[in-house]
Assembly symmetry: C2
Homo-oligomer: 119 residues x 2
Protein backbone atom coordinates (compact mmCIF):
# COMPACT_ATOMS: atom_id res chain seq x y z
CA UNK A 1 0.00 0.00 0.00
CA UNK A 2 1.03 3.57 -0.65
CA UNK A 3 0.37 6.69 1.45
CA UNK A 4 -3.37 6.43 1.01
CA UNK A 5 -5.74 8.78 -0.74
CA UNK A 6 -8.86 10.87 -0.40
CA UNK A 7 -10.78 11.59 -3.61
CA UNK A 8 -14.34 12.30 -4.63
CA UNK A 9 -15.84 9.31 -6.43
CA UNK A 10 -16.62 11.49 -9.46
CA UNK A 11 -12.88 12.05 -10.02
CA UNK A 12 -12.56 8.45 -11.17
CA UNK A 13 -13.53 7.74 -14.76
CA UNK A 14 -16.81 5.88 -15.36
CA UNK A 15 -16.18 3.01 -17.80
CA UNK A 16 -19.10 1.71 -19.83
CA UNK A 17 -20.03 -1.79 -18.70
CA UNK A 18 -20.92 -4.34 -21.38
CA UNK A 19 -21.41 -8.10 -21.30
CA UNK A 20 -25.13 -8.29 -20.68
CA UNK A 21 -25.49 -4.88 -19.05
CA UNK A 22 -27.38 -1.86 -20.42
CA UNK A 23 -27.10 1.79 -19.38
CA UNK A 24 -24.42 0.77 -16.92
CA UNK A 25 -21.03 2.12 -15.95
CA UNK A 26 -18.39 1.29 -13.38
CA UNK A 27 -15.75 3.36 -11.57
CA UNK A 28 -12.89 1.45 -9.91
CA UNK A 29 -12.51 3.70 -6.85
CA UNK A 30 -9.91 1.64 -4.98
CA UNK A 31 -8.19 -1.12 -6.92
CA UNK A 32 -5.20 -3.41 -6.94
CA UNK A 33 -3.26 -1.85 -9.81
CA UNK A 34 -3.28 1.80 -8.74
CA UNK A 35 -3.83 1.58 -5.00
CA UNK A 36 -2.22 -1.69 -4.01
CA UNK A 37 -5.44 -3.04 -2.50
CA UNK A 38 -4.48 -6.49 -1.23
CA UNK A 39 -7.73 -8.05 -0.12
CA UNK A 40 -10.76 -6.29 -1.59
CA UNK A 41 -11.62 -3.48 -3.98
CA UNK A 42 -14.22 -0.69 -4.16
CA UNK A 43 -16.25 0.10 -7.26
CA UNK A 44 -19.15 2.46 -7.93
CA UNK A 45 -21.82 1.14 -10.30
CA UNK A 46 -24.19 3.58 -11.99
CA UNK A 47 -27.33 2.46 -13.81
CA UNK A 48 -29.32 4.92 -15.88
CA UNK A 49 -33.15 4.77 -15.66
CA UNK A 50 -34.12 1.43 -17.23
CA UNK A 51 -30.52 0.20 -17.03
CA UNK A 52 -29.46 -3.14 -15.62
CA UNK A 53 -26.44 -5.27 -14.80
CA UNK A 54 -25.93 -8.76 -16.23
CA UNK A 55 -28.11 -11.52 -14.79
CA UNK A 56 -25.21 -13.73 -13.84
CA UNK A 57 -23.37 -15.63 -11.17
CA UNK A 58 -19.74 -15.89 -10.05
CA UNK A 59 -17.82 -17.64 -7.29
CA UNK A 60 -17.35 -14.55 -5.06
CA UNK A 61 -19.60 -12.27 -3.07
CA UNK A 62 -20.73 -8.67 -3.55
CA UNK A 63 -21.19 -6.19 -0.73
CA UNK A 64 -23.29 -3.19 -1.80
CA UNK A 65 -24.37 0.13 -0.39
CA UNK A 66 -26.94 2.22 -2.27
CA UNK A 67 -25.92 5.89 -2.48
CA UNK A 68 -28.64 7.38 -4.74
CA UNK A 69 -31.70 6.35 -6.68
CA UNK A 70 -34.12 3.45 -6.65
CA UNK A 71 -34.14 0.02 -8.17
CA UNK A 72 -34.29 -3.64 -7.43
CA UNK A 73 -31.98 -6.53 -6.83
CA UNK A 74 -32.87 -9.95 -8.19
CA UNK A 75 -31.26 -12.34 -5.75
CA UNK A 76 -31.82 -15.97 -6.67
CA UNK A 77 -35.62 -16.33 -6.90
CA UNK A 78 -36.37 -13.12 -4.98
CA UNK A 79 -36.68 -9.51 -6.10
CA UNK A 80 -35.84 -6.95 -3.42
CA UNK A 81 -36.34 -3.18 -3.68
CA UNK A 82 -33.27 -0.96 -3.33
CA UNK A 83 -33.08 2.64 -2.16
CA UNK A 84 -30.61 5.04 -0.54
CA UNK A 85 -28.98 3.62 2.59
CA UNK A 86 -29.73 0.01 1.69
CA UNK A 87 -27.06 -2.59 2.22
CA UNK A 88 -26.98 -5.77 0.13
CA UNK A 89 -24.99 -8.94 0.44
CA UNK A 90 -24.94 -11.14 -2.67
CA UNK A 91 -23.36 -14.46 -1.64
CA UNK A 92 -20.88 -16.28 -3.83
CA UNK A 93 -22.59 -18.46 -6.42
CA UNK A 94 -26.05 -16.85 -6.26
CA UNK A 95 -27.48 -15.58 -9.55
CA UNK A 96 -28.25 -11.85 -9.31
CA UNK A 97 -29.10 -8.71 -11.26
CA UNK A 98 -29.42 -5.02 -10.37
CA UNK A 99 -31.99 -2.91 -12.19
CA UNK A 100 -32.86 0.78 -12.09
CA UNK A 101 -36.64 1.10 -11.76
CA UNK A 102 -36.59 4.83 -10.93
CA UNK A 103 -36.33 8.06 -12.88
CA UNK A 104 -32.83 9.08 -11.72
CA UNK A 105 -29.43 7.38 -11.76
CA UNK A 106 -29.16 4.37 -9.45
CA UNK A 107 -25.74 4.63 -7.86
CA UNK A 108 -24.35 1.96 -5.55
CA UNK A 109 -21.03 0.79 -4.20
CA UNK A 110 -20.01 -2.73 -5.09
CA UNK A 111 -17.13 -4.27 -3.16
CA UNK A 112 -15.59 -7.54 -4.31
CA UNK A 113 -12.54 -9.55 -3.21
CA UNK A 114 -9.15 -8.95 -4.82
CA UNK A 115 -8.50 -11.12 -7.84
CA UNK A 116 -6.66 -13.89 -5.96
CA UNK A 117 -9.74 -14.46 -3.80
CA UNK A 118 -12.28 -14.50 -6.64
CA UNK A 119 -12.24 -18.23 -7.43
Amino acid sequence: MNQGKVIHYSQVEAEVAGDGAAGASIRWLIDEEHDGARIFVMRMIELEPGGYSPHHTHPYEHQNFVVDGHGELRLGEEIRPLGPGDVALVPAGLRHQYRNTGSTTLRFLCFIPAEKFRS
Copy 2:
Protein backbone atom coordinates in the same frame (compact mmCIF):
# COMPACT_ATOMS: atom_id res chain seq x y z
CA MET B 1 -22.40 -17.59 2.89
CA ASN B 2 -26.14 -17.75 3.28
CA GLN B 3 -28.87 -16.60 0.88
CA GLY B 4 -27.82 -12.98 1.11
CA LYS B 5 -29.68 -10.02 2.49
CA VAL B 6 -30.98 -6.55 1.75
CA ILE B 7 -31.46 -4.25 4.76
CA HIS B 8 -31.39 -0.55 5.48
CA TYR B 9 -28.26 0.38 7.42
CA SER B 10 -30.41 1.89 10.20
CA GLN B 11 -31.84 -1.58 10.96
CA VAL B 12 -28.50 -2.61 12.42
CA GLU B 13 -27.83 -1.50 15.99
CA ALA B 14 -25.31 1.30 16.53
CA GLU B 15 -22.84 0.28 19.24
CA VAL B 16 -21.04 2.99 21.16
CA ALA B 17 -17.35 3.03 20.28
CA GLY B 18 -14.86 3.56 23.10
CA ASP B 19 -11.07 3.18 23.29
CA GLY B 20 -10.00 6.70 22.45
CA ALA B 21 -13.12 7.66 20.50
CA ALA B 22 -15.72 10.29 21.50
CA GLY B 23 -19.26 10.75 20.18
CA ALA B 24 -18.71 7.71 18.00
CA SER B 25 -20.74 4.62 17.15
CA ILE B 26 -20.37 1.67 14.84
CA ARG B 27 -22.86 -0.60 13.04
CA TRP B 28 -21.55 -3.93 11.75
CA LEU B 29 -23.60 -4.06 8.54
CA ILE B 30 -22.07 -7.21 7.02
CA ASP B 31 -19.91 -9.33 9.29
CA GLU B 32 -18.39 -12.75 9.70
CA GLU B 33 -20.52 -14.05 12.56
CA HIS B 34 -24.00 -13.30 11.19
CA ASP B 35 -23.40 -13.12 7.46
CA GLY B 36 -20.53 -15.50 6.84
CA ALA B 37 -18.39 -12.79 5.24
CA ARG B 38 -15.18 -14.60 4.32
CA ILE B 39 -12.84 -11.89 3.14
CA PHE B 40 -13.95 -8.43 4.26
CA VAL B 41 -16.65 -6.76 6.34
CA MET B 42 -18.78 -3.60 6.11
CA ARG B 43 -19.28 -1.19 9.01
CA MET B 44 -20.96 2.21 9.27
CA ILE B 45 -19.22 4.70 11.54
CA GLU B 46 -21.16 7.68 12.88
CA LEU B 47 -19.48 10.64 14.57
CA GLU B 48 -21.56 13.30 16.27
CA PRO B 49 -20.52 16.96 15.82
CA GLY B 50 -17.17 17.29 17.60
CA GLY B 51 -16.78 13.51 17.75
CA TYR B 52 -13.69 11.63 16.68
CA SER B 53 -12.25 8.14 16.27
CA PRO B 54 -9.06 7.00 18.01
CA HIS B 55 -5.79 8.37 16.65
CA HIS B 56 -4.24 4.99 16.08
CA THR B 57 -2.64 2.55 13.70
CA HIS B 58 -3.13 -1.13 12.88
CA PRO B 59 -1.69 -3.60 10.40
CA TYR B 60 -4.64 -3.57 7.97
CA GLU B 61 -6.22 -1.05 5.65
CA HIS B 62 -9.49 0.88 5.73
CA GLN B 63 -11.61 1.66 2.72
CA ASN B 64 -14.12 4.46 3.38
CA PHE B 65 -17.00 6.14 1.62
CA VAL B 66 -18.58 9.25 3.14
CA VAL B 67 -22.37 9.08 3.10
CA ASP B 68 -23.36 12.25 5.04
CA GLY B 69 -21.80 15.15 6.86
CA HIS B 70 -18.42 16.86 6.92
CA GLY B 71 -15.18 16.25 8.72
CA GLU B 72 -11.54 15.52 8.28
CA LEU B 73 -9.22 12.57 8.06
CA ARG B 74 -5.80 12.80 9.64
CA LEU B 75 -3.68 10.49 7.53
CA GLY B 76 -0.09 10.30 8.72
CA GLU B 77 1.11 13.93 8.70
CA GLU B 78 -1.71 15.20 6.49
CA ILE B 79 -5.20 16.40 7.28
CA ARG B 80 -7.70 15.94 4.47
CA PRO B 81 -11.28 17.28 4.36
CA LEU B 82 -14.11 14.76 4.04
CA GLY B 83 -17.56 15.30 2.58
CA PRO B 84 -20.34 13.29 0.94
CA GLY B 85 -19.16 11.13 -1.94
CA ASP B 86 -15.54 11.14 -0.80
CA VAL B 87 -13.57 7.90 -0.94
CA ALA B 88 -10.64 7.31 1.41
CA LEU B 89 -7.99 4.64 1.52
CA VAL B 90 -6.07 4.37 4.79
CA PRO B 91 -3.15 2.01 4.16
CA ALA B 92 -2.08 -0.63 6.66
CA GLY B 93 0.24 0.77 9.29
CA LEU B 94 -0.52 4.48 8.77
CA ARG B 95 -1.65 6.42 11.84
CA HIS B 96 -5.07 7.98 11.23
CA GLN B 97 -8.07 9.66 12.84
CA TYR B 98 -11.51 10.73 11.63
CA ARG B 99 -13.09 13.84 13.11
CA ASN B 100 -16.48 15.49 12.63
CA THR B 101 -15.92 19.21 12.01
CA GLY B 102 -19.47 19.91 10.87
CA SER B 103 -22.83 20.54 12.57
CA THR B 104 -24.52 17.27 11.57
CA THR B 105 -23.64 13.60 11.97
CA LEU B 106 -20.64 12.49 9.95
CA ARG B 107 -21.55 9.08 8.57
CA PHE B 108 -19.13 6.94 6.59
CA LEU B 109 -18.66 3.35 5.58
CA CYS B 110 -15.53 1.65 6.82
CA PHE B 111 -14.55 -1.66 5.22
CA ILE B 112 -11.81 -3.79 6.74
CA PRO B 113 -10.49 -7.28 6.02
CA ALA B 114 -11.95 -10.31 7.79
CA GLU B 115 -10.19 -11.18 11.03
CA LYS B 116 -7.80 -13.73 9.52
CA PHE B 117 -6.40 -11.04 7.21
CA ARG B 118 -5.97 -8.37 9.86
CA SER B 119 -2.42 -9.14 10.97
